[in-house]
């Protein structure tokens, strides 16, 4: 297991997962969100080729109201 930060909160996931697998392991569903890894945007097309490592920080953002 490795420790990562997801939306500001520490959690653990199995080692060796890519972004797509990480999202599934974290129980995120659907497609209406976007992902950043360590402050860098990760495009949907690169989820499977981007690996998540120990101490990585992930942001998962979805649409909300805005001004």
């Amino acid at each position: 297991m490795i420790e990562i930060i997801v939306n500001g909160k520490r959690t653990t996931i199995p080692n060796g997962l890519n972004i797509k697998e990480t999202i599934k392991a974290l129980d995120y569903k659907g497609k209406g969100f976007a992902v950043a890894l360590n402050g860098t945007f990760i495009a949907l097309a690169t989820y499977e080729t981007t690996m998540v490592r120990d101490n990585d920080s992930i942001e998962i953002l979805a649409p909300v109201q805005g001004g």
């Binding site: 995120y28 569903k29 976007a34 001004g67």
Partner: protein, 270 residues
């Protein structure tokens, strides 16, 4: 209602789109989603601002808010609200492009947490990167002419100076500054963004020759947001018509409007 004179349908271009409404509306702070939907419809706005925030695990990707906005069939303008650096704003913009399916971005980089005043240095830096990446950048900035120049220099075709602090409702703090930007950039699309509190503020911005007005709190926090949305729709139209009609020059002294020839009981003072 008195029927106004027949004029050509006013239209303008921004971000590659031709629009009839010059009111850009926010989607936050309404009493309810239904109220937001009705207010946006009544406002006639064809651009609505949206944002991105952290999503909790276990939630579906779609959400009720986004479904309502999509059902309106108008253009969305995602913002980078909450960003405090060019890097954060750039990443948020890239994420917004994927989620909302648009290259439009309302660039907000906050430099002071108390006034929510934009950071001009980071805003210009982010704008330059985003434009190179193919974004249509709608930068939120102060009413500083030099900052506007820098934004234009890096390729911004739209500039959105504040009227006053976000959510303050204070109106146009420095109309002379806004006018100076308008005069300096006759060919850029200029939108007053933030600080509008009353319909008359929106009218004033349009009378200055601004191409549009972006606001949220003034409508959403009104006692009756739907009625206020209607008020802003007409206020923006009035201001634009006034600008196009050409306003009289201010004068230093009184000048009678009633003809003086044949004034009754008149006699020459000795």
């Amino acid at each position: 209602m008195t029927k106004h004179i027949e004029t050509e349908i006013d239209s303008w271009e921004i971000g590659g789109k031709t629009l009839q409404s010059r009111l850009l509306i926010g989607s936050a702070l309404y009493p309810s989603p239904a109220n937001m939907e009705e207010a946006i419809k009544i406002s006639g706005a064809q651009i609505v601002t949206v944002s991105l925030r952290r999503q909790a695990a276990g939630e579906g990707g779609g959400n009720a808010f986004w479904e309502i906005i999509r059902s309106l069939g108008i253009d969305v303008l995602p913002n980078t609200a909450g960003s405090h650096s060019a890097k954060e704003a750039i990443t948020t913009a890239q994420m917004a492009r994927e989620v909302f399916g648009t290259n439009w971005i309302k660039l907000e980089v906050i430099g002071d947490q108390y006034t929510l005043q934009p950071d001009p240095f980071e805003t210009v830096k982010a704008a330059e990167v985003l434009i190179k990446e193919g974004f249509e950048v709608f930068p939120y900035t102060t009413d500083d002419l030099v900052v506007a120049k820098r934004l234009a220099d890096v390729g911004c075709k739209i500039i959105m100076p504040w009227g006053s602090m976000i959510g303050s409702g204070k109106g146009l703090m420095n109309p002379d500054n806004l006018l100076a930007i308008r005069k300096q950039f006759p060919n850029l699309q200029l939108v007053v963004d933030a600080g509008i509190g009353k319909p008359s503020h929106a009218t004033q911005a349009m009378e200055l020759g601004y191409d549009g007005v972006l606001l949220n709190s003034a409508i959403a926090l009104a006692q009756d947001p739907v009625k206020m949305a209607d008020a802003f729709r007409t206020a923006v139209e009035a201001g634009r018509l006034g600008y196009e009609a050409g306003m009289m020059q201010e004068r230093e002294f009184a000048s009678p409007s009633t003809p003086t020839v044949g004034t009754p009981f008149w006699h020459q003072f000795s």
